[in-house]
């Protein structure tokens, strides 16, 4: 019997019953999902009221105001810089609230230098990976932005883990002016970007060419298809809110699997370090720092806070090796690197769904981190550049 062999009943009633039942199931699922899925916060730039000089642009840094003469502080890092965990088990991640690192730093600068006209830009990204940071920094520098101080949060997991370029960062390579200019920037003798990075940048440009070719060849049916998909999505929750539903299914399945087989406590670390990616990521970090320095920025790096009551996700020995190595390069790179790993006490961390959150800490945690960065940088006179009116 081949795979397509199927016995179907001879009569029309069977067809009607099967089709009607299928329709009923879809209708019920649509009804259920419309009640299950609630509006989820998207970009952090939403409702929270902030002073005019504090801007959060996670996904679309092209919205950064045109380059100005005013001083600016950039904050770059993963979601620990902007997201807040739930305060009790079962709570979701909060992403549109005040009292995060950028607010705390801006307030301190404002208090210390009341006449200073400084803009604060949060340009972080979820699980920001070094090649992504490099692309974003390169793109903004190429467009003429010149930060005064850059606060760069380094999360070990994102340095040791994989190397990829997600579509919102990849979009930079579609900028015709950026194309080519970035390679020239990296090729500068003072930057000394590793050939692997240049190779990767060229690969992205080739991918853009390929995408553009595909775009040129798109037919009317592609355009009709897009409109049709959007139209159906606006009417059917199952399609329109499919990302949320997929996330819900994934979480439920993961929870079920972990109830049957939970090896999280027994493993030394959950993710293996990938040597090639790790080496590439460190090269990217060096290139980021050199690019920023070369364009006149003061760079303040910190090893992001970690909670100590859960086993580490990545090999801690290799992390210590990395820290020793990077600390050893600070003089040569001309940057300040601070160790903020133990700055946020365990009680300031929270929950994400049913699990303890390893990445994000609550508002008091953000205050602690901001105060630590403020004090340490003050001791090194880093903020003095913001003092002049």
């Amino acid at each position: 019997m081949s795979e397509s062999t199927i016995k179907t009943g001879p009569d029309r009633s069977r067809l009607l019953i099967v089709v009607a039942t299928a329709g009923l199931v879809v209708t019920l699922a649509e009804w259920g999902s419309s009640r299950l899925v609630t509006e989820t916060p998207g970009d952090v730039t939403g409702q929270t009221h902030r002073p005019e000089n504090v801007l959060i642009l996670l996904k679309d840094p092209a919205r950064l105001p045109p380059p100005k003469q005013e001083r600016s502080v950039w904050i770059l890092g993963n979601s620990h810089t902007y997201a807040l965990p739930g305060t009790k088990q079962g709570d979701a991640l909060r992403t549109d609230e005040a009292g995060i690192l950028i607010d705390e730093l801006a307030a301190r600068v404002g208090r210390q230098f009341p006449d200073s006209r400084t803009n604060f830009y949060l340009l972080s990204y979820p699980n920001f990976l070094p090649f992504e940071i490099l692309t974003r920094v390169g793109h903004l520098l190429q467009r003429g932005h010149r930060p005064t101080i850059v606060v760069l949060g380094l999360t070990w997991r994102n340095i040791a883990r994989d190397s990829q370029l997600r579509h919102e960062i990849y979009a930079a390579y579609r900028d015709a002016e950026f194309d080519g200019a970035f390679e020239a920037m990296l090729g500068d003798a003072k930057i000394q970007a590793d050939p692997d990075i240049v190779k990767e940048v060229r690969a992205q440009r080739m991918q853009v060419e390929h995408d553009e070719q595909i775009e040129r060849l798109r037919s009317d049916s592609d355009r009709i298809d897009e409109s049709l998909t959007t139209w159906i999505g606006s009417r059917l929750t199952l399609m329109g809110k499919s990302a949320e539903l997929r996330a819900q299914i994934f979480r439920t399945l993961t929870d079920r699997v972990q109830r049957l087989w939970d090896d999280r406590e027994s493993v030394k670390y959950s993710y293996d370090l990938v040597e090639h990616d790790y080496a590439f990521n460190v090269k990217c970090l060096r290139a980021v720092v050199r690019l920023l320095k070369e364009h006149g920025a003061t760079v303040l790096c910190y090893y992001a806070p970690e909670r100590s009551d859960l086993p580490p996700l990545m090999d801690p020995d290799r992390q210590n090796e990395f820290i020793a190595q990077f600390d050893g390069e600070t003089d040569q790179l001309g940057i300040t690197v601070l160790d903020a790993r133990r700055v946020v006490p365990n009680e300031y961390w929270g929950w994400v769904g049913d699990s303890p959150d390893r990445s994000h800490f609550t508002e008091p945690g953000h205050q602690r981190l901001a105060q630590f960065l403020w004090d340490e940088a003050l001791r090194r006179s880093t903020w003095k550049e913001l003092a002049q009116p």
């Binding site: 019997m1 795979e3 069977r14 037919s219 040597e275």
Partner: protein, 501 residues
């Protein structure tokens, strides 16, 4: 990217051609309605018009190529039968025209690139200009159908059909882009004698094939695709031996689910139009030998290779040497049919080697009378399981050659797979391993589940609505749940892997 050829694949372009796109799911009911509202004698015209619209929606200039290719073969067939003394010579000319058409669009750029590579090795830059063709979708499939028709005409196994019926045979939209590769004797009689009415059983069967095909593509094949893509886009230096096993199995599952889902939707779409297409798959991962695998995998291509390449290459005396030679040559051509690239050729040779090896191991057994008697008595379930697992492992390893972007990557990955003691680390996530393992178990279980469901279906007394009601409700609920998951997991319509061949 990276396969070496400059031929442009329009993967991801041409929404109407993708059975998993809303525009196709809107196009199909219109065609089905038009077919069944039209009188039976007009079915061919509705289907031909729909097929031309379907193909032109992708890249209309190539519609001329499709029509021209069919016309060439129709008139070529007339020319062959017109002159009996030169039948083979004329047939050879028509076949050569088909091969040239395929070679020009599919292999010329690759050939030029290789000539230039040799030139650059000799210190000469750009010996020949590399043509930048857009690879016409479905060309490998419709040219193979045309070739089989021409060979059957030469062998006097086929007759001349009307020009427009032959056009529809070549262009029939459900099988145009990625098969099944139909024979004239299978499709043309259905076109010439169309069904006068669609019975509800065929209609339900067609719908079931489309819904289950959508589920296999959108939920299962596209579900594992991102993990597979990420794994194969990693530098192979960072990959461990167990990762290669996992990646190759995962890609094997992905391509099977992707291609078999396409076939299901093609068969379902055709069935709604009153046409029966041949099936392409019969649980290939339950195969117990390489030969058995090819009898179950891409069946319409396998039998084409068998009838038009393997048997002619084998000649009249089926000695062991001749069988091995024919297997290697025909499978090498099968590999290169899939794409212009050395890795495809290596993949074909690998399978040729597996089949030749199987013939060598079993030749004596199959030719000695006592062994034949033992074989007839059947093999033990344990041996059968061992044979299935070995075949699965060997076939899966072969996918590394097929999927790798470059020959260097393929050989690098194979080196890791074959030397696990040297590369004992793991770089891919545990969830990828778990996902692959669960999918493998599901695929292995599917023949038994289908057998069980078919038995339950057989047990329902036909026409007895009372006892069949529960079964029908279950079938409807399953279809509904599959549709719900399809709507949730439709993340932008991805192209089918076999579109690029």
């Amino acid at each position: 990217m990276g396969r070496g050829s400059s031929t442009i694949n329009l993967e991801g372009v041409g929404a109407a051609l993708r059975f998993n796109s809303p525009v196709y799911l809107a196009f199909l009911p219109i065609v089905v309605l038009a077919v069944w509202l039209a009188p039976a004698r007009a079915h061919r015209w509705v289907l031909l018009a729909a097929s031309y619209v379907f193909y032109a929606s992708w890249h209309w200039p190539y519609l001329g190529l499709l029509v021209g290719s069919a016309a060439l073969n129709h008139w070529g067939a007339r020319w062959i039968v017109a002159g009996p003394p030169n039948r083979k010579l004329r047939g050879g000319c028509v076949l050569a025209a088909n091969v040239l058409l395929l070679a020009e669009f599919k292999y010329l750029s690759w050939l030029c690139e290789n000539v230039n590579a040799v030139g650059s090795w000799l210190g000469i830059t750009q010996l020949v200009a590399v043509p930048q063709w857009i690879l016409p979708l479905g060309i490998s499939f419709y040219v193979f159908e045309a070739i089989s028709y021409t060979v059957d005409i030469i062998r006097k196994r086929e007759r001349i059909h009307s020009f427009w019926d032959f056009q529809l045979f070549i262009a029939f939209f459900p099988k145009l882009i990625a098969g099944p590769i139909m024979r004239a004797k299978e499709l043309l009689p259905q076109i010439e004698n169309p069904q006068t009415r669609l019975d509800s059983s065929a209609f339900l069967g067609g719908l079931w094939m489309i819904v289950s095909g959508l589920f296999l593509k959108i939920v299962l094949a596209d579900g594992i695709a991102p993990d597979v893509d990420r794994a194969f886009s990693r530098p192979f230096e960072s990959i461990g031996a167990t990762d290669v096993y996992c990646m190759s199995v995962a890609f094997g599952l992905q391509i099977y689910l992707d291609f078999s889902s396409y076939t299901r939707m093609a068969i379902g779409s055709a069935r709604l139009c009153g046409i029966q297409l041949v099936d392409n798959f019969n649980y290939p991962y339950s195969a117990t030998s390489p030969v058995d695998f090819w009898n179950r995998w891409h069946i319409s291509l396998s039998r084409w290779i068998r009838d038009y390449l393997f048997f002619p290459l084998l000649g009249k005396k089926a000695t062991l040497g001749a069988m091995c030679r024919a297997a290697l040559l025909s499978m090498a051509l099968c590999g290169i049919w899939h794409g212009a690239g050395w890795s495809f050729l290596l993949w074909g040779l690998y399978h040729g080697g597996l089949i030749a090896g199987y013939h060598i191991l079993t030749y004596r057994q199959r030719t000695s009378p006592s062994a034949v008697a033992t074989a007839d008595a059947g093999i033990s379930p344990a041996k059968q399981l061992l044979a299935m697992l070995s075949t699965f492992a060997l076939v899966s390893l072969g996918w590394v050659l097929f999927r790798s972007a470059t020959t260097a990557q393929a050989l690098g990955l194979l080196q890791r797979a074959l030397m696990p003691w040297e590369y004992s680390y793991r770089a891919l996530s545990g969830t990828f391993y778990l996902h692959t393992a669960l999918l493998t178990l599901a695929i292995w279980a599917s023949p038994r589940v289908t057998k069980y469901v078919a038995a339950a279906s057989e047990a329902q007394p036909s026409g007895s609505a009372g006892t069949g009601f529960g079964y029908w409700l279950a079938q409807g609920s399953l279809a509904g749940m599959m549709l719900v998951l399809c709507l949730i997991y439709l993340r932008g319509q991805t192209a089918f892997i076999y579109f690029q061949f």
